[in-house]
C-alpha cells in the first residue's frame, strides 16, 4: 500500500515536471558594426545542446545552392549542420549590423540545456558563446557579454 502511494506521488511529480518544461526562450542579440575594409555580413547560428543531443534553432547564411562556407560555423557545423537536422524554415539570409530578437521553442523534454550562439564573418573573426539554462532554478534572464562578432546577448526564458 505504502509503495503504491509512493509511486502515485512520483508519477504526479513527474507529470508536473514535464508540464514545466515547455521552454520558450527569447534571444536578443546584436550584430556589431566592425571597422573592416572588406565587410561581409556574418553567418549566425543559434542552437541548444543537451549532452550529445542538439536542437537547431536558427542559421543565417548566404542563400544559394552552393554554400561552401557553412562549415565555418565550426561548432554549429559539427553538432547540427553536417547532419541536416536543420530545416529550411529555420534558416535565413545573412543580416547586417543591428539589433535582433528571435523567439524559439526549445525541446519540450529538456529542462536543462546549453544555448549556443556562433557568428563567423568572411575576412573577419569568429565568436562562439553559450549560456547554461536551467528552467527549474527560477532564473528568467541570462546575459552573455559581447565578443568580437557578437554584441551583448540577453536570453529571456518565457
Amino acid at each position: 500500500m505504502r509503495s503504491l502511494i509512493n509511486k502515485t506521488l512520483l508519477g504526479a511529480a513527474l507529470g508536473m515536471a514535464s508540464l514545466a518544461q515547455a521552454a520558450t526562450v527569447e534571444v536578443a542579440f546584436e550584430i556589431p558594426r566592425p571597422d573592416a575594409e572588406r565587410y561581409a555580413k556574418p553567418y549566425v547560428a543559434i542552437w541548444a545542446e543537451q549532452g550529445r543531443d542538439s536542437e537547431h534553432l536558427l542559421v543565417w547564411h548566404l542563400q544559394g545552392e552552393k554554400d561552401k562556407w557553412l562549415s565555418d560555423l565550426r561548432r554549429w557545423w559539427r553538432k547540427v549542420g553536417r547532419y541536416d537536422h536543420h530545416i529550411d524554415g529555420l534558416t535565413g539570409a545573412t543580416k547586417g549590423p543591428g539589433h535582433y530578437s528571435e523567439t524559439f521553442n526549445v525541446n519540450d523534454d529538456w529542462d536543462k540545456f546549453t544555448l549556443y550562439v556562433e557568428a563567423a564573418r568572411e575576412n573577419g573573426g569568429r565568436s562562439l558563446v553559450k549560456a547554461k539554462i536551467d528552467l527549474n532554478d527560477g532564473q528568467s534572464q541570462y546575459r552573455i557579454p559581447a565578443e568580437d562578432e557578437l554584441g551583448d546577448i540577453l536570453i529571456t526564458v518565457k
Binding site: 552552393k66 554554400d67 561552401k68 562556407w69 557553412l70 562549415s71 565550426r74 561548432r75 557545423w77 559539427r78 553536417r82 547532419y83 541536416d84 562562439l128
Partner: protein
Amino acid sequence: MFKATLCALGLLAASSTMAHELMIMPAKSIITEAPASVAVDISASHGVFRFDKPVGADNINVYGANGKRIRNIGTVVKSASRTSFDLPIDENGTYKIVYGGSEPMYMTTYTIGKRDTQKRLRGSLAQVQDLIPEDAKNIETIKMSRYGMSFVTAKMPTEEVINPTNEGFEIIPVTHPADYINGEELEFQALLDGEAVEGVEITVKAEAALYNGELEPIKATTDEDGMASIEIENAGRYAATFGYQGENPGADADKAFYTVFYTFEVVYE
C-alpha cells in the same frame, strides 16, 4: 648482451631507412559539401609539413565514403619534391587517403671482418642469400611495413573507411577525424590482424612547431586494449607516427617493424 647488440643494430638499420616521414597533406580535411575537389600533396620529408621527396604514384590508394577504392583520383603529378593530385570528392562522407603498405619491405643486415663492419642489403634473407659472404656474422632480416594515411570529410562523417579491416597493422581513429577539436581528447586504437596491440609508440608533431620553435612532440603508448589518447591544446595540422616492433615476424624475417604515419587537422572551437 649479444641480443641487446643485435637489437640495437636492428633499430639502427630500421631508423636510418625510416628517417623520412611520410606526409599526406590534403589542403582541407573538412569540406561543407560534395561535389568538391581537394588538393593533396604527398611527400617523404625530413621535417614535418615540408616537401622533400616525391613518392611513387602507383602506391596511392583512396577509399571513398562507401569504403570502396576510388579509381579516378585525378591526374597525379610527381614533381621534384612531392607527388600531387586534386582529389574529386563526389559524395558526402569520409574519404581515406593511403600511401604505401601493400607490400612489406625487407632489409637484411650482417656484420663482417675484424671490426664487425655493418652491411645492409635490401631484400629478405632468401632473396639476398647469394650476396652474403660466407664469413658474415649476425645475419638478420627485418620486415618493415609502413604506410601513410589521412582523412577528408565532406559534410557528415561516416565510418566505412574508419572500421578496421582486421588485416595487418592498423591505426583506428576512435575519435572521428572530423571531430578533432582543440582541447579535447583524441583516441586511437592499434590493431595487428584485428588484435589489440599494446606498446605502440605514438609521436605527434605540430606543424606550428615550424614557427614557434616548440619542437617537443607529444608522446603516448597504447595500453593492453590497444588504446591511447592524446589531448591537443591548439588547433592546427599535426603529424603522428605510430611505431611498433612485432613479436611474430613470420618465417621470412627475424624482426618486424610496423609504422603508420597519420597526418590530421585539429579545428578550433
